[in-house]
């Protein structure tokens, strides 16, 4: 899930904490250097194959389901994500898994089975590109500009957070971390384009597992199994649903309706099905079946991610002698560590020289995967959805290719600029996260109506998107200036900021859908022949042919859904 859903885990760490957690030995450095050499090598090798803009922005549309699926997941699994959610697990207990299960799995399966055919058959190159085909230039321009702007800001926020972690954990200088990691990402994405980003994301995904999997294994051995851990930290930290009956019963201050409808339906569907950062990876699949399978494979692995993210946080509650404190407290207390550092702390607890290098590599790999995801999506949207339609309509393919390369590099520099801005005023981070949340939910409303409802008109789509976004901003401002307004926005005066986020998303989605429907009914619909390949009911979806059931996406979607239900029952 997007990190914006959880404002409390930012900003990371503080000047007050000066002693670093670990020191790297020669073997650790060797591992990290090996990793850098490999990602750059892949980028360099793929440069030869990247000769057209289709290669650069769409990875030549030749990815298998496995590669597309793993990179789809990996682009989302940034280091901020890893450490932020481990910290949330320490703070809120197993409730944090909702962001991995109900907050992702239904949406990913829905993307694969229902939405992917329209994205894929329309041959669009991006989500704003789909909006242009379905609703016209206005919607595209609105979605593209907001997406490009937000993506690049988010990328800077992630960069800063990563550098901060490296400072706290290893004592590395902020500037050093920022420049080394971003120049590496710029190099391999600018050289090999999306293909290089995708291939490296698959590699990074495996490295994240290799570096982090030992934490839950060692932790479980130390506490002596799940039952012992449960006895140690208490039932309220190990039950995912049974405390969600009222706002006061759980540490998040949230009600199950917020989780199910706000998070599970609107935020998660918005993020996983319309955030171009992730959808771009699936669009690069080689055929429709692979495009449908990719999110399903991603979902299967997504369900396992809490093992290396949530479980270390819970284990931290059980085994650490020191108490971790909220970020705001850690900032003013010398020597104190915040929740968000629980993952590196657990890493340092079990891993000595050697493996520690691998663990640090996992954190760097996670950061780079997220960063590359942001810049490759930014370069595509900028070149295809802003530069080509509005600034320079008729240029050669080679021109757009080099535009993509330069965009990647410029995008990274803008991110670096953002990172330095955040360094001066850390509150910027919260605003960027909030900004990002304004666009996701209404965009989902517009895209889903566009795909499933033939009657939706171009005017309806545009005004719905605009109204949903503006209302989201207004609600946010309302709560910002008048804290008591939370009783209206989130339905309860006891709601916490996270709950407010969820309900705000829900309202803005409802507003977007309502406005789209009303405006559509008063405006002239597009004729059916213009909707072919874009909308349900006007699109012949090719059959899967005579393939055995175990090769069908729907079969695997069913399997993933069954495991998903079982997990929620087990951890009820």
């Amino acid at each position: 899930m997007p990190s914006f859903a959880l404002p409390s885990f930012l900003p990371l760490a503080a000047e007050a904490v000066t002693q670093k957690l670990v020191t790297l030995g020669v073997s650790d450095i060797l591992i990290i250097v090996g990793y850098f050499a490999m990602v750059l090598g892949i980028g360099w090798y793929l440069k030869k194959q990247t000769t057209t803009s289709e290669d650069f922005f769409m990875a030549g549309r030749e990815m298998t389901a496995w590669i597309a699926g793993l990179s789809f997941l990996s682009a989302n699994l940034g280091s901020l994500e890893l450490m932020g959610w481990a910290g949330s697990a320490y703070q809120y207990g197993i409730l944090a898994t909702h962001w991995y299960w109900i907050g992702a799995i239904p949406a990913m399966l829905f993307l694969g089975i229902v939405m992917m055919p329209f994205y894929y058959i329309s041959k669009t190159h991006s989500v704003p590109g789909y909006l242009q085909l379905r609703f016209g230039e206005d919607s595209r321009a609105f979605a593209a500009i907001s997406f490009a702007f937000m993506t690049i800001l988010m990328s800077g926020v992630n960069m800063f957070s990563m550098a901060k972690v490296m400072e706290v954990v290893l004592g590395w200088d902020l500037n050093f971390s920022i420049w080394i990691s971003s120049i590496t990402v710029a190099a391999y994405v600018a050289l090999g384009g999306l293909k290089s980003a995708i291939f490296n994301e698959v590699l990074q995904f495996m490295l994240i597992w290799a570096g982090a999997a030992l934490i839950p294994i060692m932790g479980m051995i130390e506490v002596g199994g799940w039952a012992n851990l449960q006895a140690k930290i208490g039932a309220s930290y190990t039950h995912a649903w049974s405390t969600l009956g009222s706002f006061q019963d759980n540490p998040m201050g949230i009600h199950w309706t917020g989780i199910v409808f706000g998070l599970g339906f609107v935020i998660s569907f918005g993020y996983w099905t319309t955030d171009f950062l992730v959808v771009q990876r699936v669009l690069a699949a080689k055929d429709l079946r692979s495009a449908k399978m990719a999110p399903i494979i991603g979902a299967a692995f997504k369900m396992a991610v809490p093992l290396i993210v949530i479980l270390p946080g819970l284990l931290g509650l059980g085994v650490l002698d020191v108490k971790l404190v909220p970020e705001s407290v850690a900032k003013v207390t010398p020597g104190a560590h915040s929740y968000n550092e629980v993952l590196p702390i657990m890493m340092a607890r079990y891993m000595g020289p050697g493996l520690l290098g691998l663990g640090i590599t996992a954190l760097i790999a996670g950061f780079m995967a997220g960063m590359a995801g942001n810049v490759s999506a930014f370069a595509t949207v900028w070149t295809y959805d802003i530069y080509r339609p509005f600034l320079n309509k008729k240029a050669s393919d080679a021109h757009y290719l080099s535009m993509g390369r330069w965009c990647t590099i410029i995008g990274i520099f803008v991110s670096i600029g953002t990172a330095y801005m955040v360094m001066r005023a850390e509150s910027i981070m919260d605003y960027v996260q909030a900004l990002f949340s304004f666009f996701i939910a209404p965009l989902f409303g517009t895209v889903i109506l566009g795909m499933l409802w033939k009657r939706a008109t171009p005017a309806g789509g545009f005004w719905g998107l605009l109204a949903g976004t503006v209302c989201s901003i207004l609600m946010w401002l309302w709560v910002l200036f008048d804290e008591t307004a939370i009783r209206y926005v989130a339905l309860s005066p006891h709601a916490k900021p996270m709950a407010e986020n969820m309900y705000r998303a829900l309202w803005s989605w409802i507003i977007c859908v309502a406005v789209t429907v009303v405006v559509s009914l008063y405006t002239r619909p597009k004729p059916d022949e213009q909707l072919t390949g874009l909308v349900y009911g006007a699109t012949p979806i090719p059959g899967e042919g005579d393939v055995p059931f175990w090769l069908r996406p729907i079969f695997w979607a069913g399997m993933v859904a069954a495991v998903f239900v079982a997990l929620n029952v087990v951890f009820w």
């Binding site: 194959q49 291939f199 290799a210």
Partner: protein, 74 residues
């Protein structure tokens, strides 16, 4: 596609795994107290073995894929 991603992944895991094995064996004798923190297990050695096995398997898959007929290769 011309690059099979299993090859670089396999290679990197095999190399890093090998490095951990060597380092694990070396520290087993030179600095055994180092593993107190990991409950007495030489995790460098064991995790190195796991990683190099995985790396070898991926490399084998990648090489197998490269020798199969192009239309069968995925």
């Amino acid at each position: 596609m011309n690059l099979d991603i299993r090859l670089p992944i396999g290679l990197l895991f095999a190399i890093l795994g090998g490095l951990l094995i060597v380092y694990g064996l070396w520290t087993q004798f030179s600095d055994p107290n180092m593993y107190d923190r990991s409950l007495g297990l030489n995790i460098n050695l064991w995790w190195g073995l796991v990683m190099s096995l995985f790396g070898t398997f991926m490399t084998w898959l990648g090489r197998k894929g490269a020798t199969e007929k192009p239309q069968q290769a995925h």
